[in-house]
């Protein structure tokens, strides 16, 4: 399929365009936040819980008087970073295991798939809770736990795609020519799985940002005083009667980011002819 038709399809779908716009806006804010945020995120600069529209504080202040707009702008960076590193590692590891399992087969394939079955039996949040209990709460632990919990689903999807490629003529021809397993993996198999790997990455990226913020909300993820939307909501529910806006604003930020990511990745998947619904979990 040519680039032009893919782009045309994307343009024809308003949902995808809205999604891309939301992602772009969030990306720009997240990247430039340290320069455009009006105040230092951890310093107390005004009266506690100033309402929206207070002079000098566009979106008011939080329960101890830190500027809310600055904290909201910075509040996505850590979760996006954690999700990005975790999912990049996760999808890379999953691609290697899935494609090699599909190509080598036999006992190796069996072992990989039994490990996948085992990990699929432990829901993501419980998995992270377990790892955090054992190893303590830090960003490194979080990245590791989230990366691992997303691997089994990705392995399943990529392996079933790789299984359709392994029996094809050019792969078998390469094998018969005596080319090393490593080269077949890099030159024949990986390039032909790259589309599905990209979609996996996009879909799991949005769901892992959801996961990171839910974990932070639960007290298992990012720890204070780092500004984070999930943490900010957990903090603000204590004063939900006095200042519901302190809950609603970070809610709006996290929701628009995930909605944008999902609309965009769903649209991209449709445009290159993959069904996005099947890879979700």
């Amino acid at each position: 399929m040519s680039e032009a038709t893919t782009w045309n399809r994307i343009q024809r779908s308003p949902g995808t365009m809205i999604g891309l716009a939301l992602v772009l806006a969030h990306a720009l804010v997240a990247i430039f936040a340290p320069w455009i945020a009006p105040y230092e995120v951890t310093s107390i600069v005004g009266f506690p819980m100033s309402p929206i529209g207070t002079p000098d504080f566009l979106l008011g202040t939080d329960n101890i008087g830190r500027d809310y707009l600055s904290r909201l702008m910075m509040g996505g960076r850590t979760s996006i970073f954690v999700a990005l590193v975790a999912i990049a590692g996760s999808v890379a590891g999953a691609s290697f295991l899935a494609i090699s399992a599909a190509y080598i087969g036999g006992h190796y394939d069996d072992i990989v798939m039994r490990i996948v079955d085992t990990m699929l039996a432990i829901p993501g949040i419980l998995f992270v809770a377990l790892i955090v209990t054992g190893f303590g709460r830090s960003e490194a632990v979080l990245i590791f736990a989230i990366g691992f919990s997303y691997m089994p689903g990705a392995i399943r999807v990529i392996r079933s795609h790789a299984l359709t490629i392994v029996p094809l003529g050019y792969v078998q021809a390469a094998r018969l020519r005596g080319i090393s397993v490593f080269r077949i993996f890099l030159r024949e198999l990986l390039p032909n799985c790259i589309e599905i790997i990209t979609v996996e990455f996009a879909l799991r990226m949005s769901s892992s940002i959801l996961a990171v913020s839910a974990l932070s909300f639960l007290g298992l993820g990012i720890s204070p005083p780092t500004p984070d939307w999930g943490l900010m909501i957990a903090e603000a529910v204590k004063t939900i009667y006095a200042a519901p806006m302190l809950v609603l604003l970070p809610s709006l930020f996290i929701s628009t980011l995930v909605v944008g990511l999902n609309l965009a990745s769903d649209g991209l998947a449709n445009a290159i002819g993959l069904d996005a619904a099947r890879g979700l979990n």
């Binding site: 085992t118 039996a121 432990i122 998995f127 839910a214 007290g219 929701s255 909605v259 769903d266």
Partner: protein
Amino acid sequence: MLMALVRRLMLSCLILFMVAVFVFAATEVLPGDALDVYLSSDDLAVMSEADIDEMRQRFGLDRPAWVRFWEWFSGAIFGDLGKTLIDERDIVDLIWHPLLNSVILGAIITAITLPTAFTIGSITGYKRGSRTDAAVSTLTIVGYSIPDFVIGNVLIILFAVWLALFPAVIFVFSNASTSELLAVSLLPALTVIIGHVAHQSRLLRAGFIETMNSEFVERARLSGLSERRVVLRHALPASVIPMLNSLALYVAGLLAGLVVVERVFGYPGLGRELIEAVARREVHVVQGITFWSASFIILMNLLADLAIMALDPRVRSAKSA
């Protein structure tokens, strides 16, 4: 057929065992033992070496890891999860009522989510490509993109803060009666239902489209049956199978949803117990809840596969061949 059944059962047992090894290793072997996890640096500052050794002996932690694993595993599968570290309470006693409360909440959610999602999924699947389909698809993406804890808190602001119809935080003891629990489970249930209906109806839409494109539906059409009969008698019953296939994923998602929503509303369930146990570093409680939840998912997966074996003629013949 019998061989396939036995093999499937053995697979479930193997996975159960591997989950147990993993759960135990992640909390008690790799980071040290249960005390290494439980004691904070403050505790270590005031406790003498002898105190710690004595505590280690009292909990039997001075024995090798595989002995402790076997004791824990053989207890856990027969309903004994050991004792808490802080006051040596029986863990099953501690989590029993929260467990039942979570089952009630989960059952309410499932009873509403699955039929609703099935209806939406099959209608949008049948009318795929239409305006309705496009609108509902976008709506479902928005629905499962918004985090559970955001939906929950927005409902609290709407119904508790602005309309003052409900209290914002639930005050019910974990051993409350079913009717008390039903009264407070409305908003928590609604919170999880919104996201899950959206997610499940998308999966079911995909499953229904696959069924409508399959050969036996084509055959039913060609043999002159009315469209109504083709859909109601042939396509719909068959699209139950993809639904069963994703049952374990649904249950896993539901458990995760319960953890979040119980925290948001203070509902006295297993999820709230889990988060509190993590905060107190009660290793054995976290282990127990995780292992039992995973066992439940494994059981659901097994039941779903058995149901598929019984229902799907293709699987039936492939397995017996």
